[in-house]
Symmetry: C2
Subunit: 681 residues, 2 copies
């Protein structure tokens, strides 16, 4: 049986730590932390959490996500109470050289994902719960079916059955690692939370357990629902969750009872009872913000404010005797648990799709081909899509590998963070939808960069070249968005061969990647033997239809050419058309395919612009933050000031519906506009 | 009584129009349109909608939002049936010169907001419903209290009462214009929809009526809930809505009955009964995608696909006889309805806050001061905040004008579109939160640009200078995000005087604006008489502490200065510090405050760089898409190639927690880094 007296002592220590560390930091969120002390202490040290502190990234561990990331003083205090952070370390909270930041980032080794932009943690939990299920050697679908059948029978009979026939299954299900997510009540106003809630019940994530710290108070005002647990309960139940309520989140026994009830099966009266077999679970807990210090308890105006040094003593006095040496024990995970090996089988060779030069193939289709081929050789690859799989062509993968495809429905925010969560179990997630709709997940991408992400995002239907669907469906800010993420890589293929090979590179390289694909079919222009790399580009010389990337001949080309056209994707083909047309008039130009938009090929552009006065960048994107500015940035910071004519052709008029060709013409980013520009030089 | 036979005829015409217009366009969404024909025909022509077709923007009209914007063939067909679009016009659907686009934009005069990125329409509806309430001369709060008291009594007695005592109130409540929103079932997976749902019930928007077209099929797959209206019902009820279900959305009488039930009061058995007095209402309707054409009905694989010319004839045959001349009548609104006048009272003068030169005042605080002052003189000003009002300082306005302040809680997506919706009733909405969290509303901002927006967004706590809260709270991509919106204005004040005056300019100028404010206090550097304008900047000369914008002396300055520093916000102060320090060593530099980031002051920068070889841009933002690239873009496209040394100081390392000063130093954007850079020249 659990030692409640000891838990109580740990709670006191944690309160002491929260108060002293935030006072020392002169900032931070003590009151938010204080409301969840009993909840998290019971979870960590009451026998519920299974975690190997020496190997926190091991997939056999349970996971904890502090979605309310501003409760970081509590997080760090828990690990102090677990004995892995020293008190002097804790007192470095929020200091420049400490990894104990104001909100947890990848620098804190026990956090899987950064939190602090509210409403994202549950999605990360969904991703991890899916990842755990996928790495489990237990055949979930079979087990689930068996259990669900039995449970539905049990529910219908509303009775308790003899556990013998199912005991082994239950035992195996129980040993699947769990994901616990601590939610704040204010953040439940975020739509993303409800996206995560609905998808968790859709996928029957019975290894996902959320704990809502309902302390009633937001930053500036009371939450919409205050302490109305009944309404929260109705909402979660309507969304298909098990709900457990706790009317006093500071009563250790009540919290313990609630956490016990989340177990997949419980002992009751010497018989065993199945509960919660196929649903995620939420524990809704009535708590008090600032609990433990009378002048903080349930008071407005204290959000994000530490106790001053003057008041600290009286605050600490209210805690009573604090045993600074008490330490809690976190259960170790079941080390015998078998986890699927995701190592690459070196005998398997990627089947590269054979595209014929000159054939018209959309880059989105080639992406689908590549993902399918990669799926065969690399079990780490998983795919997610926001209900656009038949447009992005992730459906090819989905059909062949249904267990590794996750339909995320039209909920892009949750898709982003779920993908990040899955990656934390060792998978390589490819998440796709229309480029335009990726803007819906910008905050999630922004936050992902603080989680050491291995995340591959694919946006199809970029630019005005999608045509008649109109501006709402056109990705025209997407390059800008991904460029603004500090450490990101942006690839933008113009043909099927490059699309296929760049997808392969994304899979093989760690980090946050964006692949921009076209709706429109474009001719295959690269030979299947052509090689591509991050930071690379392809030179297309005048009158030579089969381009080669001969670095040695670069200087030679340049002597004859004073105009360089830089493009990618659909506008590359417009540039090539213009090049061909201009050649007829004896005007030679060099076209550069900057398929790697970030990093852009600095060396080649520097070489090409060495003696070149005229540069045209042409792109199917709005003026700011796209390829044009990437090139300008490179030129100007590399002092390529000799360039006197720089023309940036891009989408400068608010687009409308029309045919792709009409729209390229309307926006002056087609071959005709390019030719006119060159002729003006 | 309504003429169902005529409605039936109109439905046939509309089906004919949907099929023929999409076949002609060779693209579009006929099946999605066909499922809602009876719903919208009954709404428009069954007496429920009140709309003056000659004056569609008049605030006395009811509003309709087609949140499922891909049902545009249905929208346009309804207006054809109403007699305001001709058949030849309709046949121009999706053509380049037609305003009948693939998804409706501001170009379609009967659409208040562009739709097409799913899940945004209900938020726009919430905004319009709030706007209508605010323009109504009926004192809602008093009326609501009275009605709520009575209704609660009625509900408790579960009885019907004699209406006499309340009849006049009810009559006045009934005459408030309504907002109808057509929702698709797929889009209900979007978190933003649930943000709108919760806020609509929080604000008791009884003039908001949503209609969910539950046709079961998404683009690539079945929705999560299929035709499970019961689960939808539970969810909406749990979120505080009235729910009406219709088991056959193609039965005109059932649809009529459901729409009748949304009236604020109904006649029942010769007595009158109050219903739905203080809640928004959803009508959940079981429909069939592709209804009316057997080979389209309830079939997968037909999303977004028109019927081919070959199949059109057989499809039309299924409609039976179509009367191409039938036209429906839309009810006119109550022209006697009194609406609050929002005209400026010219006798009221803005009280400009008096800041003292040298005082330390955060720009966010000055924004709060300005909004408060503006609220006094301009009744159009409304404010929204995502539960950060005590940090953004919108609370100053909120406290003085509670009826014009809308707490949006932590749900930024809904806040953006709600603000847009409010603006469509003639208001000027200011929506604020942390700059970092505005990224959550990027898709909503992106879409707003297709709605001819008058929208003022304010992001506080920008950059690493926020300090210890860490990277999750730092707006470091926000300038890039707002620059990438085609027609946007970005203002970034560095002191209280400019913050105050720029806020005033935002209020006075139509369009989509972004104001970037600081957490950190900065000294007041401008005199209260200083003037600011969109596209302006301020020159700070060496050793002169009171800067003046003397355009005439610009060329004189430049002769003595070879280094120009461009900055805004917190880094402007670092640049000024550096300037002072450098002056001690006899090095003169010019500092330019580009408080107008977009448009940037092209004329002044061109003048200043005329003979200037060294430029430093220093900003508290990531490298891409910010002030640095804005300046590069200007220089390079204006052929200011004489610049040989361009240094861009910005946030190049993933930030962490620390003090503001430590972080400015760590990122090399403080005075010290600037001085070092200048000395290297």
């Amino acid at each position: 049986m659990v030692d409640f007296e000891k838990l109580k002592k740990i709670c006191k220590l944690i309160r002491y730590d929260i108060l002293t560390s935030t006072t020392e930091a002169k900032s931070g969120h003590p009151t938010t932390s204080l409301s969840a002390v009993e909840l998290m202490t019971t979870l960590y040290f009451g026998g519920f959490l299974h975690l190997d502190l020496k190997d926190p990234k091991n997939p056999i561990n349970d996971r904890v996500v502090f979605s309310k990331g501003h409760a970081s003083p509590l997080i760090y205090s828990l690990y102090h109470a677990a004995g892995v952070i020293s008190y002097p370390e804790l007192m470095q909270l929020r200091k420049i050289n400490s990894d104990l930041e104001g909100h947890p980032t990848f620098r804190f080794k026990y956090a899987d994902v950064a939190t602090g932009s509210l409403g994202q943690g549950l999605s990360a939990g969904v991703g991890m719960a899916l990842g755990i299920r996928l790495r489990s050697t237990i055949d979930n679908r079979k087990l689930k079916m068996v259990v669900e059948n039995r449970v539905s029978k049990i529910e219908n009979q509303s009775s308790i059955i003899n556990p013998q026939p199912l005991s082994s299954i239950i035992h195996r299900l129980s040993s699947i690692p769990k994901v616990f997510v601590l939610l704040g009540d204010s953040e439940m106003a975020e739509g993303q939370v409800w996206e995560a809630i609905q998808i968790a019940s859709h996928y029957k994530l019975n290894n996902l357990i959320a704990i809502a710290d309902v302390n009633r108070l937001g930053q500036s005002t009371e939450t919409m629902l205050g302490w109305d647990l009944e309404t929260y309960k109705k909402r979660f139940e309507a969304f298909g969750w098990n709900v457990i309520t706790v009317d006093d989140g500071h009563d250790l026994k009540k919290v313990y009872k609630a956490l016990s009830a989340t177990q997949i099966f419980q002992k009751t009266n010497k018989t065993e009872k199945f509960v919660f077999a196929s649903k995620p679970t939420i524990i809704l807990v009535h708590t008090i913000k600032g609990k433990g210090v009378s002048f903080l308890e349930n008071k407005e105006g204290w959000h994000g404010k530490p106790v001053s040094k003057d008041l600290l003593e009286s605050a600490l006095k209210e805690l009573g005797d604090v045993n600074l040496n008490v330490r809690g024990v976190i259960n170790v995970p079941n080390l015998k648990l078998k986890i699927k090996n995701l190592k690459l089988n070196k005998n398997l060779k990627l089947k590269i799709k054979n595209y014929k030069l000159g054939d018209f193939v959309a880059t989105r289709l080639a992406y689908g081909d590549a993902l399918l081929a990669l799926g065969d050789v690399n079990k780490k690859i998983v795919a997610l899509d926001a209900e656009m799989s038949n447009s992005t062509y992730s459906e090819k993968f989905a059909k062949k590998f249904p267990e590794r495809y996750f339909e995320m429905f039209i909920a892009e925010q949750n898709m982003m963070t779920t993908a990040l969560g899955i990656s934390k179990l060792g998978f390589i997630p490819f998440a796709s939808t229309f480029a335009a709709f990726l803007t819906r997940g910008f905050d999630q991408l922004r936050m992902a960069q603080y989680s050491a992400p291995n995340l591959k995002i694919v946006g199809s239907h970029c630019g005005v070249s999608i045509g008649p669907d109109g501006p709402s469906q056109m990705g025209l800010e997407d390059i800008s968005m991904f460029r603004s993420i500090l450490n990101s890589t942006i690839l933008y293929p113009s043909d099927a061969v490059s699309a296929f090979k760049l997808t392969q590179i994304m899979a093989d390289t760690d980090g946050l990647f964006y692949l921009r694909t076209n709706r429109k079919e474009t001719p295959v222009i690269y030979d299947e033997k052509e090689e591509f790399h991050i930071g690379g580009s392809k030179i297309h010389k005048s009158e030579i239809r089969n381009p080669k990337s001969e670095t040695n001949s670069k200087s030679k080309i340049l002597k004859n050419n004073k105009t360089l056209m830089i493009a990618a994707g659909v506008t590359l083909h417009e540039a090539l058309k213009a090049q061909k047309e201009l050649a007829k008039s004896g005007i030679e130009v060099v076209v550069l395919d900057v398929y790697s938009v970030k990093p852009i090929d600095q060396v080649t552009i520097n070489q090409l612009t060495h003696n070149c006065h005229n540069i045209i960048v042409v792109e199917d994107h709005y003026p700011s933050g796209g390829i044009g500015e990437a090139v300008m940035n490179l030129l100007i910071t590399n002092h390529r000031s000799i360039v006197t004519n720089f023309i940036h052709l891009c989408v400068r008029k608010l687009p409308r519906s029309g045919s792709p060709e009409e729209l390229l013409h309307y926006e002056e980013i087609d071959a005709e506009a390019i030719i006119e520009t060159v002729k003006k030089f």
